[in-house]
Symmetry: C2
Subunit: 198 residues, 2 copies
DNA sequence: CCTACCGATCGGTAGG
DNA sequence: CCTACCGATCGGTAGG
């Protein structure tokens, strides 16, 4: 074992690269993310960045994984051990707060890169699609776990996720924070309908 | 006046360039659209493409305008002279059919480029944002013109547009046409609620 | 992690 | 519309 801390510094550099990469990609996309630009911004050499990943595709995949960890920390973990309606509400509120506080400057990282890669093929697209499936499935399952739900969980999940996504999209495109109020009203009304006693 | 048809051929070439540009951009984005690639695919020289626009930004702006004309022809014009609830329904059905039939291979052109440019600055982003404002305003106005509407038109328009956008996004990302059924059910339920007599 | 490269492609220009 | 260029930047490699 080396004791001069070289490995440790290497991992720290890698984390710095990925943090910056996720920030850039949320604005410019994962293709617009260039190794040369990352190197310039982080004040290391281009091959210094390159050596951590071996190819641009691996850099993109590692960036998606890093963004997924941030998403989990900011949206899913805070929902904690809540169950039933409280859990669903916490996940939805958590997502809206995550988008609104601009954890990523271009809004939700996954909205940006999904639209960029949705019509392509390859491992990057696949990893993004898998993340999206997991998120929607999480919301569907949380909806299904609400006692006496008066709605199809999959249909309700579709509608709820639609409100979140449009709020993020329109707030970034129009610099308009008011759309979050529309999204919160829509979520509230949908949950009220779905939990109304027959 | 020239009578050898040179100007006419020039305009035809320009139209061909823009049609191809809109198709490419719906998959690869307006930045991924390169003048060299357009030239290769259309079998003309790179400077032959360039001469029509003078800069990449002008090519991008012309592509947005060309896509807007296609959108109007496919979604808005078919709604014709219908009024009230019928007009709103025709616009929403028309949009879902336009997305589902893949007028653009990457799904709705404007969804793709909005996500690409939403966090940038400049004339291309401004033209895309203006188009989006116009579309949402069209839906809000159509909703407001429904007699005895039992909902806030702006809130209803937000929810309806959200269903359309998520159906497009998820059908492209997951090659899953079933999401259109979710969107149509959500639209139907929202319109039923909004037109229910008190 | 570095310097020093490679071929390919980018947007754009000159001159016709 | 063409050929023939330009400087800049891209992802990636060699060799340390």
């Amino acid at each position: 074992m080396k004791v001069d801390g070289r490995v440790e510094r290497g991992e720290q550099t890698r984390r710095q690269i990925l943090r910056r990469a996720a920030v850039i990609a949320s604005v410019e996309g994962l293709e617009g993310l260039s190794i040369g630009r990352l190197a310039t911004e982080l004040e290391i050499s281009k091959s210094g960045v390159f050596a951590h990943f071996g190819s641009k595709e691996e850099l993109q995949l590692a960036t998606v994984r890093a963004a997924a960890r941030i998403f989990v920390d900011e949206v899913i973990t805070p929902a904690g051990a809540a169950t039933g309606l409280a859990r669903l509400e916490r996940l939805l509120d958590g997502w809206l707060a995550y988008s609104e506080r601009r954890t990523f400057p271009g809004g939700c990282f996954f909205y940006s890169v999904q639209a960029e890669f949705d019509a392509r093929t390859g491992r990057v697209r696949d990893s993004i699609a898998e993340f999206d499936r997991g998120w929607v499935e999480l919301i569907r399952t949380a909806a299904a776990d609400v006692p006496d739900l008066a709605a199809d969980p999959a249909q309700l999940a579709f509608e709820l996720v639609a409100y979140l996504q449009l709020a993020n999209a329109r707030s970034v495109l129009h610099d308009d924070p008011d759309v979050y109020a529309h999204a919160r009203a829509a979520v509230r009304a949908a949950l009220d309908r779905a939990t109304r006693r027959a």
